[in-house]
Amino acid sequence: MMDTSRSPSEASGFSRKLAATIIIVYMVVTLIPISWMVATSFKSVDSAISYPPEVFFEPSLEGYVNLFTNRSRQPKDYLDTLPPPDTWYEELVRSREMVITGPSKFLPRYSNSLIIGFGATFFSVFLGSLAAYALSRFKVPLKDDLLFFILSTRMFPPIAVAVPIFIMYRKLGLGDTHVGMIILYTVVNLSLSVWLLKGFMDEIPREYEEAAMIDGYSRMQAFFKVVLPQATTGIAATAIFCMIFSWNEYAFAVLLTQFNAQTAPPFIPTIIGEGGLDWPAIGAGTTLFLIPVMIFTVVLRKHLLRGITFGAVRK
């Protein structure tokens, strides 16, 4: 970002240093909860519940092992009869007087999050860019009302429409299915995607496609071969926002899915219940779940403002 506008307090070196110090302190404080969760994921169960909280600790992969497996506690004499463990994770579990009974549901839940997230992102960006192009270029009757209508769908509390959708999905056989969740998240994301993409497309000069059309392209061809490639950055930014939303969504997921299409956010809290307060496992689940979003945020940083305000603030 180029600093074209200079702030009035540019002159004073001291006030700038003071500002930087306060900001850095805030940054450190605000990142403590996140770092603490990542650190907890590498603790042993005992170390996670020691007081005072341990800042320095012996790293352990217990949390990750517990996250990915189901275990059952066994008496010591039974464990002694078993053949020695084959793998390091079996050994770790064995040392806690437990045996692995199978893989946990975390992986299926995580992959549900991926499937539903990518599916919904694809459709909302695809449909959104069509609608955004039409709203950006053509005279559409009641255009402003239409745009406001599209935005207003975001004001419904999700719970308010969840009951009718629940009943509707039950009738259509879409309840607890990937298809149902992809459709739902596509629709929820559409308002954001239309608004953002319209802003991006407004910035592409009409002359480009007009020139292409003079060269013999039809309007359709011009859209797919000239406008869409020009809008790549905007489309990518919009896609990441849609992905983050679907990834993080909880209300619909917890109300409409249960066994088959449940995503990670409603699942992670249930880890608490399995075998006492297993904070390292929760830390591990949280860490694996949050990492993609953090990477996305860094990638998105230039478009962040636009995304979170539905394009109301650009810059």
Binding site: D3, S5, S7, P8, A19, A20, I23, T30, L31, P33, W36, S50, P53, L127, G128, L130, A131, A134, L135, F138, V140, F149, I150, F156, P157, I159, A160, V161, A162, V163, P164, I167, M168, I183, V187, M213, I214, G216, R219, M220, Q221, F223, N248, Y250, A251, V254, I268, P269, I282, T286, F289, L290, V293, T297, R301, L304, I308, T309, V313, K315
Partner: protein, 300 residues
């Protein structure tokens, strides 16, 4: 209008416009508007979604009368109002403060902004889960840090009905202050420098410059940020559902949490639909008035 473009081959622009908009419109009508109308219709009945086959009767405005006359509902509204007001006030102050500081250009500015923004991109439900750990009265880091500065002994942020409403305010503030900050920062950066130069010429003090230039220019941006946050927090569900799930008792039972209990635990579909409609109308009404006021301030 049409003459210039009509000459080109392929479908007419009008046809393309409708082909492009139709799928979006149909989906929104099917998955958003239809359910809303459905909910409005159900709100006039005594429907229970778990009792299939039971006769559904039209009960007129009974559900609405019941809700508006219920003291419990006003309690929930008060809890919601407490949450919305405090989060907005605190996030406005800290957000604007941080934006003012970040606007003084220093090295690493952009990197710091990105790092500060991280919490608001995370999944609110998952954030709720791991804050229950930080708030744990025996081993929580939050409790340890607070006790480090002033020894309160053992206290339970989530378990005590006086502290719980503040526990959700703290987490929401931690998560969403960067939102206000980012938008205010955009406002600050949009102020043209010549305004300050002119003020310098007029010998206006720094304080006067702040009151007469900075604040009025950043205000529309701040108001916009608060509009977004206000709507979101009025509907707040995921974070609080996982952090306190409305408890202890009903100390943090926000409107949406209560709605979920009525609709998906007690299955009072008709009654909860009426409550949903009331909430939606409230958000819409407040939103509209707010936007009008905001535009008036902007025009001044």
């Amino acid at each position: 209008m049409k003459s210039a473009v009509k000459k080109f081959k392929g479908l007419s622009d009008k046809a393309i416009a409708w082909i492009f908009i139709a799928p979006t419109l149909i989906l929104l009508l099917a998955i958003n508007i239809y359910p809303l109308i459905y909910a409005i219709r159900m709100s006039f009945t005594n429907f229970y979604a778990n009792k299939i086959g039971r006769e559904v009767k039209f009960v007129g405005l009974k559900n609405y009368k019941k809700i508006l006359g219920k003291e419990e509902i006003w309690e929930k509204m008060q809890i919601t109002a407490h949450f919305v007001c405090w989060t907005l006030v605190i996030q406005a102050l800290i957000g604007l403060g941080l934006a003012l500081l970040l606007n003084k250009k220093f090295k690493g500015n952009e990197l710091l902004t990105t790092l500060i923004v991280l919490p608001m991109m995370l999944s609110p439900a998952v954030v709720g889960v791991f804050w229950t750990y930080l708030y744990n009265p025996q081993v929580g880091l939050f409790n340890y840090v607070v006790n480090f500065f002033y020894d309160f002994g053992i206290f339970d942020m989530i378990g005590s009905s006086t502290l719980a409403p503040w526990s959700i305010v703290i987490v929401d503030t931690w998560m969403w202050t960067p939102f206000t900050m980012l938008i205010c920062l955009a406002g600050l950066r949009s102020i043209p420098n010549y305004l300050y130069e002119a003020a310098e010429v007029d010998r206006a003090s720094k304080w006067q410059q702040f009151i007469h230039i900075t604040l009025p220019s950043v205000l529309p941006f701040l108001l916009l940020a608060l509009l977004f946050r206000g709507i979101e927090n009025f509907k707040m569900f995921d974070l609080v559902a996982e952090l306190t799930s409305g408890g202890p008792g009903s100390a943090t039972e926000l409107a949406s949490i209560n709605l979920k209990r009525e609709a998906f635990e007690k299955w009072k579909t008709g009654y909860s639909s009426a409550f949903a409609v009331i909430l939606f109308v409230t958000i819409f009404g407040f939103g509209n008035v707010y936007v009008k006021v905001m535009n008036k301030i902007k025009d001044r």
